[in-house]
Assembly symmetry: C2
Homo-oligomer: 396 residues x 2
């Protein structure tokens, strides 16, 4: 691994007073990541509908959103409620709607939010209709629905060629409570393989799958104004075909080791890190013990088959300079174990000896969503100083 410097921020005078472990967000990098993403979408004439499940923070969302009211994407109704309470009104709830959650969807829509929902089966429409019968009032407009399309077999959704696609659209059209707004897909498979040409191909396939579904719906005389795709890797490494109307992505402001592994960003673009304190050394092998275990880092192993030497995260000094060969090799609840490798790949316990108990280090996470989700706040670094502490919302 090259001794790449991953931060320009010098150690801030106020950073030593932060209790560890804690989450740091480099605002300068985040701003550059957001600008890059928006430029790329603008060149393709695409609307960004940022996914707010990674940030879970209005302070970050307002830097991602096109306007104070959206558009936005969320993965829980608690997120929808939180962002709506902060003025975001154009929201897509991009996880399949369960009938038991319809009451909260309606309640939020009655506050004026244009909340759309996602489903992928005619049977679900039937079940939602049964729930709606006792919940929907005379003043409630139909709830906009996006049909989830499966572009890569990764999660859920309808294949564009599946007759169930038309059956589901017919069920939505027949319902007095719902209204078809479009189709939506997510190329989750793009996180699996570190090959930029492959991901560029997935972006095309992601778009083509959802466009084929839209074409079938339109040929059958259904309205299908929204054609929604999205993932940070396909958005930044590929080009979506003509006809796609919006892009949902959430990791791009932060980036992480997985995005770096996929070729989406440089290590120097990673905006999130976990600040940790050395609490000791393991006598048997010289490993460093730090106060960031899986409670602070998550157990996400990233692309471990391809990059096993990255463990649960790479390690920087407190000012953000990468420590070549260092990685978090084990995670206990409140203990992280950091080991170092020499340039020839052999264990280098002496490299760890330079850090005394009390020394501070920063850990670059495998997966921004997972690591950030372990923290209630993030401390914002700007030009070498901690300038703010931003809250993150939690729960469902």
């Amino acid at each position: 691994m090259a001794p790449e410097t991953v931060a320009t921020d010098a150690l801030t005078p106020d950073m030593p007073s932060l209790p560890t472990p804690c989450l740091l967000l480099d605002e300068t990098r985040m701003a550059a990541n957001i600008a890059r993403f928006n430029r790329r979408l603008a060149r393709q004439g695409l609307l960004s509908r940022p996914h707010l499940k990674t940030c879970k923070s209005m302070a970050v969302a307002q830097r991602m959103l096109h306007s104070p009211t959206g558009p936005a994407t969320v993965s829980t109704l608690a997120e929808a409620e939180y962002f709506a309470a902060h003025g975001v009104t154009d929201i897509c709830y991009a996880v399949g709607l369960a009938p038991g959650k319809l009451d909260r969807v309606l309640a939020l829509r009655r506050t004026g939010a244009d909340l759309s929902v996602v489903l992928d089966a005619a049977r679900t429409v039937t079940l939602l209709d049964m729930a709606a019968a006792s919940l929907v009032g005379a003043d409630d407009a139909p709830v906009p629905v996006l049909l989830e399309v499966d572009c890569d077999g990764h999660r859920g959704g309808l294949s564009p060629e599946d007759d169930e696609l038309l059956a589901t659209a017919r069920a939505v059209q027949a319902s007095p409570f719902f209204q078809l707004r479009g189709v939506l897909t997510h190329a989750g498979g793009a996180y699996a393989r570190a090959d930029t040409a492959h991901i560029a191909r997935l972006a095309r396939e992601e778009g083509e799958a959802v466009l084929r579904a839209a074409r079938r719906l339109r040929e059958a005389d259904f309205d299908c104004p929204v054609i929604s795709v999205g993932s940070t890797p396909t958005a930044l490494l590929g080009e979506y075909p003509q006809g796609v109307t919006e892009v949902r992505a959430g990791v791009y402001p932060f980036m992480d080791l997985t995005m770096h592994a996929l070729g989406v960003c440089a290590l120097a673009d990673l905006a999130l890190s976990v600040l940790t304190t050395v609490i000791g050394h393991r006598r048997s092998d010289g490993a460093l013990l730090v106060d960031a275990g899986w409670m602070a880092l998550s157990l996400d192993r990233g692309l471990e088959e391809r990059f096993p030497q990255w463990g649960f995260g790479l390690v920087c000094t407190a000012d953000g300079t990468l420590l070549p060969g260092f990685r978090v090799s084990e995670c206990h609840q409140e203990h992280g174990v950091i080991r170092a490798l020499a340039p020839d790949g052999t264990p280098d316990p002496r490299a760890c000896a330079q850090f005394s108990p009390g020394s501070r280090l920063r850990i670059l996470p495998n997966h921004a969503c997972a690591t950030a989700s372990r923290h209630d706040v993030c401390h914002v670094l700007r030009q070498g100083r901690i300038t703010a502490c931003w809250e993150r919302m939690r729960g469902w």
Copy 2:
């Protein structure tokens, strides 16, 4: 897998109104698990110093603790502060103390809490002394110290034979700010191998390691009143040798699939589960999609080498009856994917078809600490009814 019934609680009338995903705690099972643990320790004349990092809840802690004031163990200072605010005063902070955290230790002790700390190197004492010089006041009694002993190479600590053990004790004795109280170890290696005879042997070795360390200290004229061991598997499957004074364990009220795999408990003892709602079926393979992903379950894979068929958790109906062959096979942020195997081990997608969108299921977690840590509250089930909602504390 036998079609073992894992719950006696019938589906409660109030359970359908709980928003999902959420954490359920079966109080009857928890009470039985705690009683079994306490009986076993009482038979050996051992003091229980429960580890409160798993429950992070005063409501659970008061059922675990010998008295309202303790003794107790914690893994963060935020836990110490939370439990002290609820009247627990005898607390061991069982993660190596970093010099930057001494101020919070002293502040808590000044409120009257008998908070002890852990360290494992003479150099750490030197660094702590430097920090203490400007923090400790004339009215502050010395901070009690336990020396961490390494019994299995699993995490940190001093080998009982290491000369550094005596050097560290001398450093503590020489310090005006600290006072030696004893030795402490944790048999973390006991979680790695599903073999009850092996774990019983580890319990003996855990005790013998810390007793050898105590003997060396006493031979060198150090006071060493506390000899502390602990882990749920070694406490429940082994016998500690004479001389051990206290046991720290935290998972035992809840149990989990890892404890079951190790032979520590029956499936029917698992008191924690995650209630989830079916949101759809994957068309390609019939898998169930549910609203509990890694945000609700954690990414802990438990003893995956030994029990890969358990995935991210086993699956029960909403009333707690195990669904043989079902497991959570994939976790995304807010999507869990459940697949079923037929008794002959082949995929059984039709078994999933019986659960419509809106159906509720319960997931038994691999690791109680990790899964519980994803939730701010747990809903308490008693005799088939939800009787309470208990808060859990967070942060560091």
